[in-house]
């Protein structure tokens, strides 16, 4: 499998704080996953982290499902101990949330509605 490395400092910057930046990283990861590439996210040079960034980049149901389906996690490297601890908490929080069958059901309904809307537009 071909490996794709995302250098966070180049793509996002030194601060991984906001939801907006987390969303940007999430899109980069999803693009690589869609092309069936193995993803390594390299955090060299990143000095500040906060939960909204990780919530939007890793705490997403879609990513959670893709990781589980493909039986591999997106590999995060060179995170500082502070970043590692935060990411671990965000992932555990996501696991707790997506254990809830109701959330999964709502997600599927949402996906279905989006598909119907797409067909209507075509």
């Amino acid at each position: 499998m071909i490996m794709k490395t995302i250098m966070v400092k180049d793509k996002i910057g030194e601060f991984c704080i906001t939801a907006k930046d987390g969303e940007r990283l999430h899109r980069l990861i999803m693009d690589a996953c869609a092309r069936n590439l193995a993803v390594t996210v390299d955090y060299s040079g990143v000095t500040r982290y906060a939960t909204p960034f990780f919530n939007y980049s890793y705490g997403r149901l879609r990513q959670h499902r893709i990781s589980r389906r493909n039986n591999r996690m997106v590999l995060s490297i060179n995170l500082s101990p502070v970043g590692k601890a935060l990411l671990r908490q965000v992932e555990e929080n996501a696991k707790r949330r997506y254990k809830n069958g109701f959330v999964i059901m709502m997600y599927r309904i949402n996906e279905l509605l989006a598909l119907i809307r797409c067909r209507k537009i075509r």
Binding site: F15, T18, A19, Y49, A50, S80, V82, R96, F102, M106
Partner: protein, 306 residues
């Protein structure tokens, strides 16, 4: 000239000549006691609901803690945005107060002195929007990078990242028109740092009530918001997990034997060395006051991996 004295201690209302309405607020010494927080709630309510110009009089004040400086500064900024010009009576300040407010940037904010801000204080700052670079410099250099702190890079990163969660809470949830004001104070004898962040938004219980739980007292709603995984933005259609920010601040004070106080709407939450207490406060605060009290002992902030 009509002159009347209000019910609240220190609140004096003067109506001059029937044209320019002036309200004089005599500020007493304000610390971290419950009475002081009540006083801040009262003046906030008054300042936010009055169109009169306020004269801020400090002749009865001996000291102001960061919670008071942030609240008063924020109120003047907030009222300035609404087009109301207030007066800060610099002449009424004792020498100690005058020196303190002119080295910590408070008087500079309102262009009342031109003296440079001292590097040995945690200055009064106003962040109208979330500016990550400016905020990071403020927290790294002026709050946790002071000579009395001497943290390792990793411990500093941990403190800055967790404190950022307070600011993120303001910009993501509060809808505060002026963003946030903040300021701190080093207490060398007690070896403590007190740091406060204030906003005048909807408040934590207000936000929970608006988006999640319609019924419940403010103390119950703030306790709910402080639990891990509880977020006002989590709804069944939402596919992003959230709700860790306030819990991280709670764990910071628990791990480091510090204190956290949150006054928001009618709720007053305190966490002293991990012991939590939450009760109602009256009158309510129209926004949120965060007060962090941290011990300046480097040994408490050693991270695993160091």
């Amino acid at each position: 000239m009509i002159e009347s004295v209000g019910d609240e201690k220190g609140l004096e209302n003067r109506v001059l000549g029937g044209e320019i309405n002036m309200l004089t607020l005599r500020i007493p010494t304000i610390d971290l006691s419950e009475g002081s927080f009540r006083y801040l709630c009262s003046i906030t309510q008054l300042a936010m609901s009055s169109d009169d110009s306020i004269v801020w009089d400090f002749r009865e004040c001996r000291f102001l803690w960061p919670n008071a400086i942030c609240t008063i500064g924020g109120l003047i900024i907030h009222r300035g945005k609404m087009g109301i010009q207030d007066t800060l009576l610099v002449d009424s300040m004792s020498n100690d107060i005058l020196t303190y407010l002119s080295v910590n940037g408070f008087l500079q904010q309102f262009k009342l002195v031109s003296r440079p801000i001292s590097k040995n204080t945690i200055p009064f700052s106003w962040f109208p929007i979330f500016e990550e670079t400016r905020l990071n410099i403020y927290l790294t250099e002026h709050v946790f990078g002071q000579k009395w702190m001497k943290f390792s890079e990793l411990a500093m990163q941990n403190l800055v990242c967790r404190t950022l969660e307070i600011f993120l809470n303001v910009y993501e949830h509060s809808d505060s028109r002026i963003g946030a004001t903040c300021c701190g104070q080093h207490m060398p004898k007690a070896n403590l740092v007190v740091f406060s962040v204030v906003d005048f938004g909807i408040g934590i219980p207000g936000r929970v009530r608006e988006s999640r739980i319609k019924r419940g007292t403010d103390e119950k709603l703030i306790s709910w918001a402080l639990e891990d995984s509880h977020s006002t933005m989590n709804n069944p259609f939402d596919t992003v997990s959230r709700g860790l920010g306030l819990g991280l601040i709670k764990s910071l004070v628990k791990e480091n034997k510090g204190e956290l106080r949150i006054i928001s709407n009618r709720a007053m939450y305190s966490n002293v060395k991990g012991n939590e207490e939450c009760r109602l406060i009256d009158p309510p605060f129209w926004g949120t006051i965060f007060v962090l009290k941290l011990v300046c002992d480097n040994r408490l902030y050693v991270m695993s991996g160091e």
